[in-house]
């Protein structure tokens, strides 16, 4: 017997929605024995994982607060992924964006000006774009592989951050801790509700969802990106310029990731430390694919992955399990999602030799 894949005449419609659900179910099935091995009761663990985090207002606030940067970064990445530009460097763009925003926030923090936050937002997006311009320039000029360049630049960005918080940007009154001074209130988003950390940066993400939908589904430029991803030869035939697509892809994902970095720095963090991101830039890649490169799907994907973060933290705290559990969960989910995706376009058959 051997397994063969046969192309379907039509893509299977219900699997486009069904695949993420199937993937989630398979992830749970796979993790079941791991829970048992760790001496946990699987149903109770799953309840702490998926239900507990959302059972309080504070939990919901944290959920949205984590989902927001994930969604924003994933929207930016999607622009490139649709055009077959594989940017793995959102983590670095996020970091550089946060650094640029923090520099503005610390430099002009005392001014108490209403334009301070917008300035930081522009600096954040600009920082991300500068970082994204490097792989774009190298790809269009020297035909380098953007996957490698963006991946490497993540480490460069992390080292720059580490240098800055240990040196030029270190808090002079900070007892030599590797961190910057805390931002003034004017350099931070105000909480939406008292006592909760959720802040107004959520509206930036909401606006980005609408804008990216408009760009990807309704604009001619978005159409051109879809064409260069789906059939590069047809894009050449129609006269769509490939270099323009590469620049647009990388700059928009850079701007989104940089802005997300700014939102994180000027939101829950309020200062820079060597570890400002819990891997948002990488998780957002999963979010983009779980959401099958559709803005509304990405919103759902961002909420799901954010829940996995919180659930992972919750089981860590209440059941004392390792932190890598949540990461394995994410990894398994992406793996199963890609596998389930195959069934949309292909039929899986067993065939006798």
């Amino acid at each position: 017997m051997r397994v063969v894949l046969e192309r379907r005449e039509e893509p299977l419609r219900f699997m486009q929605v069904g695949a993420p659900i199937l993937a989630l179910l398979l992830t749970i099935v796979l993790s079941w024995p791991f829970f048992l091995l760790l001496g946990l009761d699987p149903p109770a663990t799953l309840k702490i994982f998926f239900v507990e985090p959302l059972s309080s207002w504070n939990g919901i606030s944290e959920w949205l607060l984590k989902a927001s940067p994930l969604i924003l970064i994933a929207l930016g990445l999607t622009v490139g992924f649709r055009a077959n530009v594989w940017n793995i460097g959102a983590e670095g763009m996020f970091t550089i964006g946060a650094i640029a925003a923090a520099w503005c926030g610390l430099r002009y923090g005392a001014s108490d000006h209403v334009w301070l936050l917008p300035l930081m937002a522009v600096a954040g997006a600009g920082g991300g774009m500068v970082w994204a311009a490097i792989p774009a320039w190298l790809k269009t000029r020297a035909n380098t592989n953007e996957i490698l360049v963006t991946l490497m630049l993540n480490y460069v960005a992390a080292l720059i951050l580490s240098y800055l918080v240990n040196g030029p940007m270190q808090d002079p009154d900070g007892l030599n801790y590797p961190q910057t001074a805390s931002f003034e209130p004017a350099a931070m988003f105000a909480p939406l509700f008292s006592g909760l950390r959720l802040n107004a940066s959520l509206f930036i993400t909401a606006a980005a969802v609408v804008l990216s939908w408009l760009f990807l589904e309704r604009s001619f430029l978005g159409f051109q990106m879809n064409v260069s991803g789906a059939a590069p030869v047809a894009a050449r035939y129609a006269g769509f310029r490939q270099t323009r697509m590469v620049w647009l892809s990388l700059l928009s994902s850079g701007a989104a990731a940089g802005l997300a970095g700014m939102m994180e720095a000027a939101g829950p963090l309020g200062q820079l430390t060597p570890s400002i991101s819990p891997g948002y830039g990488f998780t957002a890649i999963i979010v983009a694919f779980v959401g099958r490169l559709q803005p509304l799907g990405i919103v759902c994907g961002g909420l799901l992955l954010s829940l996995l973060y919180l659930g992972g933290e919750a089981v860590q705290m209440s059941l004392n399990v390792p932190a890598s559990l949540a990461r394995s969960f994410q990894g398994a989910l992406l793996f199963f999602l890609l596998a389930a995706d195959v069934s949309i376009v292909y039929r899986i058959r067993l065939r006798r030799r």
């Binding site: 001619f220 059939a231 047809a234 050449r236 035939y237 129609a238």
Partner: protein
């Protein structure tokens, strides 16, 4: 002739979704008979062939092989029965030799030396001379077809199926092929010959089964029936003749090639050598030639996909050789490529989106946003005017048959009312009625003042619509000769590199 037919189909049906591709088709092929399957695109010819070759299972009906009912479960099963198939598109590897190409298609073990000898003998016996040691990329299209046929003959088939075999051959190579097929038939092998070229079928075949809309509508005797009668059976209505109005040539050429030269883009490509040509408004100029003689390089240079030196190409007097596709399109040059899926159209996208691909300048985009209604209207308009058979403007390009997609792409580009239209194989795989319509549309467009350049392997087509014809051979272009002052024989010879007048 024996009493028992070699192959008999009884009431064979195959349904794809809402479409009945084959509707109770019956036919019977005698040993040693050359039997034509005649039909337009979408009439069900290819489904029928796939059923016979085991690639598709019929929903109902019976297949009898030498009187016994059989089930053909796979191409391997078809080969074991003694059915050989020569596809329209060859499945050969460029970088290995003829013998190796044949060896990879044989199940199980083989001895390359013995095989080489067998290929040589078989080739000599049927008049199919091919040196087994030659590398495939050195071979002409006609020679490649011989390799495909030899590959089938090695299995000693009792039935050989050929799908549109002459689409890529020069008139001289067609003569040769017909000789081989007659020889084969005389030795007892039955031949199923799929085509829509009426002249060929009338010359070669004893019996023709005519398919229309999935049904076998008639069994004809092509030797005694006229081409017009056969066409009427195939299309169902009378096919109009092409109308050629007198033409007024513009004084200045609209498209000029001045010594266009470029190196081959890949090791198997052909370099262009000082290609010079002027196409005026109001005329149709044809470029004949066997594919692989620089056609794809010339087309890419003309469309702007691979730019060349500035002065080598002029559009309405201004040099555009170094400009890209978008700049040339803005100046009114449009292009219909030979590859429909993946180049002329995005396979996964709808016809509406594929209309937008090049027709965005017709008010389909406003302030950077796509206007859904005009996009749908444009696609619907092309579908209607060019008789594209499809589920509507939202149908994916890949769901259309090749001929129907071709109609859509040619229709889309003609709707742009271009000043210069370059078209490669305009009616390749398109049925008779639609081909006539497309040719008439091209002529009408030229008579409205456009300059049209047609690159085609079909000489009949070029002689039907062109005012002047040139030949591309090994990257060199001959002088374009007025249609009245040349003949298919002369052009055919020039295609194989022999210029009677130059000698």
């Amino acid at each position: 002739m024996t009493a028992q037919p070699r192959l008999e189909l009884r009431q064979v049906s195959k349904r794809y979704g809402a479409v009945l591709a084959n509707d109770a088709v019956s036919l019977s092929v005698e040993p040693g008979q050359i039997h034509a399957v005649l039909g337009e695109n979408g009439a069900g010819k290819s489904t029928l062939m796939k059923i016979l070759y085991g690639a598709v299972r019929p929903d109902s009906g019976e297949i009898l092989w030498e009187g016994k009912p059989v089930e053909i479960a796979s191409p391997g099963a078809a080969r074991r029965l003694g059915i050989g198939m020569v596809y329209q598109h060859f499945s050969l590897f460029e970088t290995i030799s003829v013998a190796e190409n044949i060896a990879v298609a044989i199940d199980g073990q083989f001895d390359l030396k013995a095989l080489t000898e067998r290929i040589r003998k078989l080739g000599a016996r049927y008049g199919l001379p091919v040196a087994p040691e030659r590398l495939l990329h050195d071979l002409s299209v006609g020679e490649r077809q011989r390799v495909e046929i030899l590959r089938c003959l090695l299995q000693e088939p009792k039935l050989l199926i050929l799908d549109e075999p002459t689409a890529v051959l020069t008139p001289q190579a067609v003569r040769q092929l017909f000789g081989v097929l007659r020889e084969l038939a005389a030795s007892g092998c039955s031949i199923l010959y799929i085509s829509h070229k009426l002249d060929e079928i009338r010359e070669l075949c004893e019996v023709a089964t005519v398919l229309r809309g999935g049904r076998a509508v008639a069994t004809a005797a092509p030797k005694t029936q006229s081409a017009a009668e056969l066409a009427r059976l195939m299309v169902g209505v009378e096919v109009p003749a092409i109308r050629r109005d007198g033409h007024a040539r513009s004084t200045a050429p609209r498209l000029e090639l001045a010594g266009l030269t470029r190196a081959a883009s890949d090791p198997f490509g052909t370099a262009l050598d000082k290609v010079t040509l002027a196409v005026h408004g109001g005329e149709v100029v044809g470029i004949a030639g066997i594919s692989g003689n620089g056609q794809s390089e010339l087309l890419a240079a003309l469309s702007g996909e691979t730019p060349s030196a500035e002065a080598m190409i002029r559009l309405d007097g201004s040099s555009v050789g170094d400009r890209g596709v978008a700049a040339r399109r803005k100046r009114g040059l449009v292009f219909v490529p030979e590859e429909r899926l993946g180049r002329g159209a995005v396979p996964a996208m709808s016809l509406a989106d594929n209309g937008l691909l090049t027709a965005h300048g017709l008010g389909l985009v406003r302030r950077g946003l796509i206007r859904r209604h005009p996009v749908l209207r444009f696609a619907r308009d092309v579908i209607e005017r060019f008789g594209v058979r499809c589920a509507g403007p939202m149908a994916a390009a890949r769901s259309l048959s090749g001929g129907n997609l071709q109609k859509f792409i040619v229709g889309r580009e003609m709707s742009l009312e271009p000043g210069v239209l370059i078209v490669s194989q305009p009616t390749w795989g398109v049925d008779v009625a639609a081909a006539t319509f497309l040719r008439q549309s091209l002529l009408d467009l030229s008579r409205r003042g456009a300059a049209i350049l047609v690159i085609s392997e079909e000489l009949e087509e070029l002689f039907e619509i062109c005012d002047r014809i040139a030949v591309l051979c090994r990257g060199r272009l001959s002088v374009a000769r007025p249609r009245e002052q040349t003949s298919t024989e002369e052009i055919g010879l020039m295609m194989s590199g022999i210029d009677a007048r130059a000698a």
